[in-house]
Symmetry: C2
Subunit: 342 residues, 2 copies
């Protein structure tokens, strides 16, 4: 049975007003720093009572009244991901310049319920949402006509009415593969590749990879396209499966740095040398990848540009619902470090 203390509601502006002997509006004005509308004496009196009561503004009430929350969300598949972590911090810093906080939420659980990624609550609890749509069913977006400003991060084709920021997957994979070929590789395994077409991130990178092979007249080999999950362990397992099966390869193109780090570990565990026996290129240009041994070469998207345009598109939509949606593709470049030969 709840005690009396359990029922004690947090103090409200009315409580402060009553105790200070002023009106609620005066408290509101003090709280919001509208100094021009409150005398010094009143201000002091109110502040005194506020700290005495431990009063805090009720944000939902304020949000209801103002029609805005002051927070935008970034929805990512998982919170413990190297790349999304960096994306999140970059976005947080930039949104803060606009007076908005960034809240990061995981869609992992929600994805199992398909449609729920963009359910009511996730959308309308925020002034805007950046959705990193790595997986899941693209058709989710078809019927959606959100009133909440929304920017899609990722490669899946989405209806024109949505703003989207993606990167040049095909081009990046094309150049990375060409670089590997130029550096002597002939049997390049694609870790995290897509075997079944489709239109996600993996599909785009796979397409670019195959295009490079074809262009160079190097035969494709089905066994060298290895689907994988997203964690470093998945990269390890993928590379290990090749080694266990006796599939020969002299290079690994991995669709993320996370996979590459795992794949490197599997290769090293077999006593193979990087880059002498096996060259490796990852994707995302993460800080951890650059600190690997050897330092991981990586396809580097223009992350700063991506963050900037994401914020611009979302802010535009927040400030004006008629802001036209855009689809922006940011460029990528291959950054060679220690896992590829000079």
């Amino acid at each position: 049975m709840p005690s009396a203390r359990d029922e004690a509601a947090p103090p409200t502006m009315s409580d402060v007003a009553r105790l200070a002997g002023v009106s609620v509006m005066t408290v509101s004005n003090v709280v919001n720093g509208k100094d021009a509308r409150v005398s010094q004496a009143m201000r002091d009196r109110v502040h005194e009572v506020i700290s005495e009561l431990g009063y805090r503004v009720n944000m939902p009430a304020r949000a209801l009244r103002l029609g805005r929350i002051g927070v935008v969300a970034l929805a990512v598949p998982m919170l413990d991901d190297l790349y999304y972590g960096e994306v999140a911090q970059r976005l947080a810093d930039r949104f803060e310049d606009h007076g908005l906080r960034l809240a990061v939420e995981s869609t992992r659980g929600a994805l199992t319920r398909e449609l729920a990624v963009l359910d009511d609550s996730r959308l309308t609890t925020y002034d805007g949402v950046v959705l990193a749509a790595a997986a899941g069913d693209a058709s989710v977006l078809e019927g959606l006509q959100p009133s909440t400003p929304l920017v899609i991060l990722g490669e899946r084709s989405v209806p024109d009415r949505f703003s989207q920021v993606s990167m040049d997957n095909r081009g990046g994979a094309l150049r990375a593969t060409m670089d590997l070929l130029r550096l002597g590789a002939r049997r390049i395994a694609l870790i995290g590749g897509a075997t079944d077409g489709g239109e996600g991130m993996a599909a785009g990178r796979t397409a670019g990879h195959l295009e490079a092979l074809d262009g160079a007249g190097v035969a494709r080999a089905a066994e060298l396209i290895v689907p994988a999950g997203v964690r470093p362990q998945d990269g390890y397992a993928a590379a290990a499966s090749l080694l266990d099966a006796g599939v020969a390869f002299d290079a690994l193109l991995c669709v993320t740095d996370a996979l590459a780090l795992g794949a490197m570990a599997a290769v090293a565990a077999r006593g193979l040398r990087i880059p002498e026996d096996v060259q490796v290129i990852g994707w995302d240009d993460t800080a951890v990848g650059a600190m690997a041994t050897p330092a991981l070469s990586s396809v580097a998207p223009d992350n700063a540009a991506a963050a900037e345009v994401t914020v611009r598109l979302l802010m535009g939509r927040i400030e004006s619902p008629s802001f036209p949606p855009e689809h922006v593709v940011v460029s990528t470049e291959v950054r060679h470090r220690g896992t590829t030969r000079r």
Copy 2:
């Protein structure tokens, strides 16, 4: 000048009700799945109008009415951190079991303003807050009497009225150092150590480290305690500074895996072998660390237990304001992998 479209407010329940020719309450009941209170015909009618209008529940309004939000926050110093990423995903999964979403926010910007870590908005926009208080001024908490349920994650001493979950820093560092000594190390550098006492995470781990040295009769060496930042790059710089200065060492104890990964890169860049020339132990037992080459030995906190108790303490407080605060210390164990000798 804003166009007419810019002023179009999102549809409300009233709009739906009017168009469907029913009362607002019927719409509310439909939206909330109270099927027992609405006939099938009504339900269909309302759903039709809802999708026609693209209606979404206004969460701030619902939150104001219900007195709860359905979201708890995890406030971390930075979003692009290996360990906090894993902590976040674990907590998100566990809170979801209780019907609560987790929103991760960065305090990085706020920390520059000292007190603002726990400002009004950050607290009252959520049903509860888990604060990872790695840095910043402990005195921030002194005057705070939050009505929002709060659990502190971290090592700083906090007032008894707060629930806190920390880990056995002293014990973990003690055992890690003893292990290194047992494995033949005599000159152990502490990367990320605290040179000036204090009470943070680094201070606790430094104390345990020194205690082990003293216990084994191994002389302390001031030049082997190397303060560092938190990113892998900072670990690289710290180890590199030792090497550049010609300070000899045969082992590195790093206060985080992130620092260890960077330090390993610096060591390897000098042609030193791990673990033959230099043994390394990190802290946090991250997935990426386990995938390093060689696999990073690490002090592993009982992360599952930490998440579980964190959720228990916060949920307890959310469900009953009189729930007594606790200070729980989770155990740590040294997990030996490839960066230490067998």
